[in-house]
């Protein structure tokens, strides 16, 4: 069984600040990490490998320094790593990204593709689903549990107020959420092996055989006009205590504000 895991290196913060002049994310001084949901995806792939036997192939598109994220993935237990890096890939929106990644995916005979639900820097949650569409395979998003039965996966998909159980045949794309598992720490031995015994293979646009017009900024239908940080609104108020106290407080506050 081959499992592809698509990961993204992101700045380690939930409060990404935007430079008011350049309108881009301020990344300076912010350490880079593997996107949290992607780590859940990777962890699940490694667990499947440990339980059923599989090859875990991890792939990212990004700048050369994204190699660190791949090394960490190798240290956690991935078998192979590919870094899609090329000037022409830069500035890709989710459509161009998914398209580029799909070209890479097609190079493998895969059974499962794992993505994280969404990246903490962009928060779109689009790349996974778009990748499944580009590959024309079924997808299950918001996955919180996976079981394998032959060529079929039994997947629990989280909903706001419960979950769905979905039976789906491989090949399939899944997007992981943090409820799926607790990612392991890469072992220290794994770190040395990742640097000394494993390889991060570089893949360029030419290697993928893609038309430079179709990828990166040029291949992106989305045009960003401007980006701003919204002004903080007045903070809401949270009542704590038992229900009776909370209701009393709430009513009192509404009376004070002449709402009732």
């Amino acid at each position: 069984m081959n499992i592809l895991v698509f990961i993204k290196q992101v700045p380690d913060t939930n409060e990404v600040k935007i430079d008011p002049v350049t309108k881009t994310l301020i990344r300076e001084g912010v350490p880079s990490i593997i996107n949290p949901d992607d780590k859940n995806a990777l962890e699940e792939a490694i667990r499947i490998k440990e339980e059923y036997g599989a090859k875990v192939i991890v792939i990212t598109m990004g700048p050369p320094q994204a190699e660190t994220a791949l090394r960490e993935a190798l240290a956690m237990g991935a078998d192979e790593a590919y870094l899609l890096t090329d000037r022409v890939f830069a500035g890709a929106d989710t459509y161009a990204t998914a398209k580029t990644l799909s070209k890479m995916a097609k190079k493998f005979d895969y059974d499962i593709i794992f993505c994280g639900r969404q990246a903490i820097d962009g928060d779109t949650a689009q790349v996974g689903p778009q990748l499944a569409e580009q590959l024309n395979i079924p997808q299950v998003t918001y996955v919180k549990e996976v079981e394998i039965e032959g060529d079929t996966l039994i997947v629990k998909r989280a909903l706001e107020d419960g979950y769905e159980v979905i039976k789906v045949k491989m090949p399939v794309l899944l997007t992981a959420i943090k409820e799926l598992n607790t990612p392991r720490y890469p072992s220290i031995k794994g770190i040395f092996e990742a640097y000394r015994e494993k390889e991060v293979k570089i893949v360029t646009a030419a290697d993928l055989g893609v038309d430079p017009q179709e990828v990166g900024l040029k291949g992106s239908p989305t045009k960003v006009i401007s980006t701003t940080t919204p002004e903080t609104q007045r903070a809401g108020e949270i009542f704590t205590g038992n229900v009776k106290e909370c209701v009393q407080n709430l009513v009192q506050r509404l009376v004070e504000k002449h709402v009732i």
């Binding site: 350490p31 660190t68 960490e72 890469p186 220290i188 770190i191 640097y195």
Partner: protein
């Protein structure tokens, strides 16, 4: 000259820090209060392959370099100094002599499970009457057939009573002085081996310092480590490496104090502004940061020399001396900067101050480090 860490070392720092902040730090206060041995931390470190970082994979280690190991001790100690010394004593004092002087059979039987973290190790040199004067060993070992019979006691032994494997020093020939000391590998279940008094300590309270008692303890002949009479040399060379580990522990404690202070002075307001705005405190912080940085360079330099098979006795002593004195300088400063809050258990700085003191004492007091440095310099 290149001061940067390799990519591997940077990754080790990142991962161990993440691990220490999430898994170790949240329990440090509790461990200090109860004095309970942090088995859970040891198990987690073992799972992450941290108990044998600098040893080859064939011997159960992580196959890493010495600087990576030292970084791990620093980062773990930054979160919990008691856990830091458990790691350092295990790796530097118990695993190392077996790796260096052990026979193939001894490495297979003892080093592999130790380096994998399946077993815990300890090192027992100090006796009630042989502290700084370690050569004054009173524990004896007498060969009788294919066994040695040990009698005597050791005190203040880190991991004592918790460890499975002990490196124990004893006199095999009193007439030969230091050349009459030998080293043994002793398992916790050997007949005639008992655990005595467990110390109540000022700091590193989660770690163990216990008395070991040997009453006609039966040790198989093949558990002699190195040759008869090599024990003192084994102890001294082992302590040279151990001191880099204790330097790293002190460094981690000092860094933790500095981190706490940098956070606190931005939050605490007096006279209508954060106290970090006062130049009086800025000067303290600048001095603390400078000392911590100097300590780090000395510690890493000693580790680098060991990694590269250069002599490191003097550099290890300098690193331990300076890093431990730095820890003892910056941790009370941190308490001072926290004011009354720093004196309470609501903040970790009082614990850091108590934890720091031991680094000037064990594996050779500061006075001993100066003796080592001077004798290496003067050679007289």
């Amino acid at each position: 000259m290149d001061f940067s860490l390799t990519k591997e070392q940077q990754m080790v720092r990142k991962i161990v820090r993440e691990f220490a902040e999430k898994e170790i730090a949240p329990k440090a206060k509790e461990i200090d209060l109860t004095g309970e041995f942090p088995w859970d931390n040891v198990k987690k470190m073992a799972k992450a392959d941290m108990m044998g970082i600098p040893y080859p994979k064939e011997y159960g280690g992580a196959g890493g370099d010495y600087i990576s190991y030292i970084i791990a001790v620093e980062e773990i100690s930054r979160a919990c100094a008691a856990t830091g010394v458990i790691l350092s004593a295990h790796t530097s004092l118990a695993c190392f002599p077996i790796f260096q002087w052990g026979t193939k059979e001894q490495k297979e039987k003892y080093l592999i499970p130790l380096a994998k973290g399946e077993k815990l190790g300890a090192f027992a040199l100090t006796e009630p009457n042989a502290g700084t004067d370690a050569a004054a060993q009173q524990t004896t070992a007498v060969l009788e057939g294919d066994h040695y019979i040990l009698n005597g006691s050791k005190i203040f032994i880190t991991n004592g009573g918790k460890a499975d494997v002990y490196i124990v020093f004893a006199m095999t020939d009193k007439s030969k002085g230091t050349k009459g000391i030998s080293a043994f590998i002793i398992e916790k279940d050997f007949p005639g081996f008992y655990i005595g008094k467990v110390e109540e300590k000022m700091g590193i309270r989660g770690s163990r310092a216990a008395e070991l008692v040997f009453e006609d303890c039966v040790v198989p002949k093949e558990n002699l480590l190195g040759k008869e009479g090599e024990g003192f040399k084994i102890a001294m060379v082992t302590l040279d490496g151990g001191r880099i580990g204790i330097g790293a522990q002190a460094l981690g404690i000092a860094q933790a104090a500095l981190d706490e202070v940098t956070k606190y002075v931005k939050e605490r307001q007096q006279f209508g502004r954060p106290i970090g705005k006062f130049q009086g405190l800025q000067w303290y912080i600048a001095e603390m940061a400078t000392k911590v940085s100097a300590a780090r360079h000395l510690v890493y330099y000693a580790a680098w020399r060991k990694q590269n098979n250069l002599s490191y006795t003097m550099e290890a002593a300098m690193a331990k001396l300076f890093a431990s004195e730095t820890a003892m300088e910056v941790t009370p400063k941190a308490v001072q900067i926290f004011g009354g809050y720093g004196y309470t258990k609501d903040y970790p700085v009082e614990r850091l101050m108590r934890d720091a003191k031991i680094t000037e004492i064990y594996e050779g007091t500061s006075e001993v480090q100066k003796m080592v440095i001077a004798s290496n310099l003067l050679k007289m």
